[in-house]
Point group: C2
Chain length 338, copies 2
């Protein structure tokens, strides 16, 4: 039996909408069916980054609750993988505190701290080489040839996230206001949609700028842009086509060229729910630029990706490459950097 | 002698960098040489908009200081014009409080409350029909045929201000990060410039998103985009050319078509200091789209525009049209709306 099989592992997905934790037994080298629990309280982010104590205060009772529900069979958890939005830049405290705290509380022998794009990758493609696009309010692409990670975009709504939900909604609102002002390039269809969603244009700045969740407000208009495109509005169609090109730019930048067999590309994230107006031009761009790749449906979500990383750690079979910012690995024998 | 000549008027320019106040005698229908005083304390903006009490607390002592310096000759101030950024949407309290407060404190008979783009217009073109572009961190164009005002853009950095400083800097940083990621459309020249200004790209989000003056941070990179364009970088050249088209879009939307004689267009604001890389394509666009118009140098700044509006009010010679949002006029006989 592969070492680690029969042990239990924990996957964690931490983001703006809360914390999701899953516990599963390792069977045949991968995670078996998982028990999952959800907290709607997002882990706090302070000046020192993601708050490790706040994460632990939620995580440990959630794990014990799962164990008390009968999962885990009394046997210890051997590995944990945490995927978190902002891990690369805001994960310093997690990297300092979690290895010791989780070893003490759970007796784990392996820990992975991953950026959410990496858990999305592992959920979508497992340990195969390829590229994963995560397009929601933001947009980031990550890819690997199993030697190193590449990342493209994910710079946030003012510096990039090109083609993501906030980008798309913002482009649509800008085109609506062009029509309102009588400037070139405006769309009366988008203006009508903006008035329906946000009321009179003069009030729009007041509904956006005072908010702290401006990217989400912008992204809330993305489905309207897609609808106007589906109804034939040429400006909206042009915006969605540009979003498809910008997303393809990122996928192209990270997709490995030389792999055994064709690399896989998976598209993930809530923006894809806007459907064909985006998917049709995006698939056309990807086929055109990356003819060697196969676009495949994602196998699972970021939480299942975290579980799969934890299971691979437990069995010593992790093929995804470690990376100081994207996939920080703490395994027995790894020197600690506190 | 024209009524009002020989009386004194006050012009006010209130914005993000503070408050400027000028006092001048009305001579030959316009303001004579002005005495000016500056406060570096910007008038507060609260939930009820621009704080009228905070404005008055600064303005009245500044006016009395100017009068004490000998200006005004002991004769009363007959009219005041206040230009303020955000007057249209945030000026409710000023419109409610200032008419009574200034009549009581100074004995004025005429008051104008103008959005800063209108005082910029009056400063640049006086009372002639035409269009004025104000391009700094933001970008707005206003125009009038002396019957009504038209405004284009000025929607802020997330909804428009297309071609302004924040727009230009943001486009440059996005292109820099494209190069960093290996995406199409990147510029290594802009990447090198961004690294010089902001340090390693990985730290750039942390230097922008926590700030409350994000538009100013973005705009601080605009001169680098212009420099790269001047040095022949094709991506930077394309960005600046697009900025010129976007600014021309706004000028075109507001410039009156039918006037006695050619309408005048004036370009104002700090962005123009980046010089030829922007001005050459912008003048070409304006000539192409508005062949009937003349591009003229601005005669004065927004503070001189406020003085000129006040002097016209004092002499009953205001030709610029009143507008509830853009140029709110309170003269003897105007019903008060408190």
């Amino acid at each position: 039996m592969t070492p680690g099989t029969g042990s239990w592992v924990v996957g964690v997905d931490s983001g703006g909408s809360g914390l999701r934790v899953a516990l599963a037994e390792v069977v045949a080298g991968g995670p078996g069916p998982a028990e999952t629990v959800v907290s709607r309280t997002p882990v706090r982010t302070g000046e020192a980054g993601i708050d490790a104590r706040h994460l632990l205060e939620q995580l440990l009772p959630m794990v014990r609750g799962l164990q008390d529900r009968g999962a885990g069979d009394g046997r210890p958890v051997t590995a944990v993988a945490v995927g978190a939005a902002g891990m690369a830049t805001l994960g310093g405290q997690l990297r300092a505190v979690l290895p010791g705290a989780l070893e003490e509380a759970l007796g784990i022998r392996g820990l992975a701290l991953a950026t959410d794009a990496v858990t999305a990758y592992a959920g979508a493609l497992g340990q195969r080489p390829g590229a994963v696009v995560a397009a929601g309010t933001g947009m980031v692409a990550v890819g690997t040839d199993l030697t190193e990670w590449r990342r493209a975009d994910g710079w946030g709504h003012l510096l990039g996230d090109c083609g993501g939900g906030a980008w798309l909604g913002r482009a649509g609102l800008t085109a609506a206001l062009r029509a309102h002002d009588g400037r070139r390039g405006g769309s009366t269809a988008l203006l009508a949609a903006a008035q329906t969603v946000f009321g009179p244009p003069a009030g729009l700045p007041g509904k956006l700028y005072p908010r702290t969740d401006r990217p989400a407000v912008l992204a809330s208009f993305a489905p309207e842009v897609a609808r106007c495109a589906a109804e034939g509005d040429p400006v909206a169609t042009g915006i969605v086509a540009e979003a498809a090109r910008r997303i393809a730019d990122a996928a192209e930048a990270v997709c490995p060229r030389e792999t055994d067999g064709p690399p896989d590309i998976a598209l993930t994230g809530g923006l894809l729910r806007i459907g064909d107006p985006l998917l049709v031009p995006l698939l056309a761009e990807l086929t055109d630029r990356l003819p060697q790749a196969r676009v495949v449906p994602p196998a699972g979500d970021p939480l299942s990706g975290a579980l799969s990383i934890a299971a691979s750690l437990a069995t010593g079979s992790l093929r995804l490459p470690g990376d100081p910012a994207m996939l920080h690995l703490v395994t027995p024998g790894t020197p600690r950097h506190d």
